[in-house]
Symmetry: C2
Subunit: 218 residues, 2 copies
């Protein structure tokens, strides 16, 4: 297909596609004339992935280049996925001593729950930083087990997500990554918004005197 | 107490406390000498609230002044809470026609779930924007009912939070707000981190061939 058709199929403007080509995020098409190239399905998938990384995940061109470079070198999908997911958010500074102590407890909890705890995992780092901040500012001495309800709720959500997306892995790496990025980032505000709305309902119920007993049976 | 003691009790430096006083975020103490003022428990609570709004929620001074101003005018706690929670995040631009259509469906779902849907609620707006983006980029035609698992997971989390914090409302407004801000913001990365780690576990299990059947019974 011509670049104009690639643009139609992906929702990415021709100028932006040319920018992706110049930056090496998109591989060159097959030249059919000195000034015309032919693009295929792999370009459609790649352009969609890059769009998701830029417009939804707000990654920098350098971060995107690291991901597409790893794909182009044929690196293992699991590793590329790790690099990708670890760029979705701001990495905290090196741990303070209090955070190091919290990290040991978090790692113990993750092991108990059977969850992965790669040292460079952004999610694990954010967990450590937030847990330590909760203990410093909100609940001193909070045991790490207090986080289990969050892990359980996350598990329930992921279970529903898996049930809703059969065959998520039976596509090629570009599409797996695009769906992972979109699925991770687009649904995060949804989960948080529902938590906030449920909190607001609680306040309303409390002020109206219709709140259930706080520690009563459901 | 003297300003140095107020600083010790709140973890806010004297220079910062003086800045809060100049900006009117903190009420003046009682003058005990031309150059010395006496501060009380209400100052401790207020300084802690302002610290939480600045350091954890990253609000601007103008946003914080709107909140402390409402408190000082004695406005209803529910309204001050609304203003506060609605400043915890970036407000999206005016809805596009597609987002307006999504909003009608989201509001219908919120009514079914018994959740509040104030028009100016930031959480509702973010729900609408994300739901529409999911439909545009990931799952065209997704029914709004697909969001129910997220609402249920949020409800489970909030239920656990209520059970863990008895008497959350039996403190004064400053403390209710401080705890609400800290509780909302500090636990959000925790919930998201567990979802990401559970996704990663899923990928690991899949690659190792130990994934359970996707739609099978638990």
């Amino acid at each position: 297909m011509k670049i104009s058709e690639l643009s139609d199929q992906t929702g990415v403007s021709i100028a932006t596609l040319k920018f992706y080509l110049r930056e090496g995020l998109l591989r060159p098409g097959t030249l059919t004339a000195p000034n015309q190239a032919d693009y295929g399905e792999s370009h459609v998938r790649r352009a969609r992935l890059v769009r998701a990384l830029r417009e939804v995940a707000h990654l920098s061109i350098a971060q995107i280049a690291a991901i597409t470079g790893a794909l182009d070198r044929g690196e293992e999908l699991y590793d590329v996925m790790g690099v990708t997911v670890d760029s979705l958010g701001e990495r905290p500074a090196a741990f303070t001593p209090a955070q190091e102590a919290a990290a040991a407890e978090v790692d113990r909890l993750l092991a108990t729950l059977g969850l992965p705890a790669r040292e460079e995992s952004l999610a694990r780092q954010q967990l450590v930083v937030s847990f330590e901040a909760v203990r410093e500012m909100l609940f001193p001495g909070l045991p790490v087990e207090a986080l289990v309800p969050y892990a359980r709720a996350a598990e329930d959500v992921v279970r529903a997500e898996v049930a809703a997306t059969p065959g998520i892995f039976s596509v090629d790496p570009e599409q797996v990554l695009e769906r992972a990025v979109l699925g991770l980032t687009l649904f995060e505000p949804i989960l948080l918004a529902f938590r906030r709305l449920t909190h607001e309902k609680l306040v309303v119920d409390h002020l109206e005197g219709t709140a259930p007993p706080e520690a009563g049976p459901d």
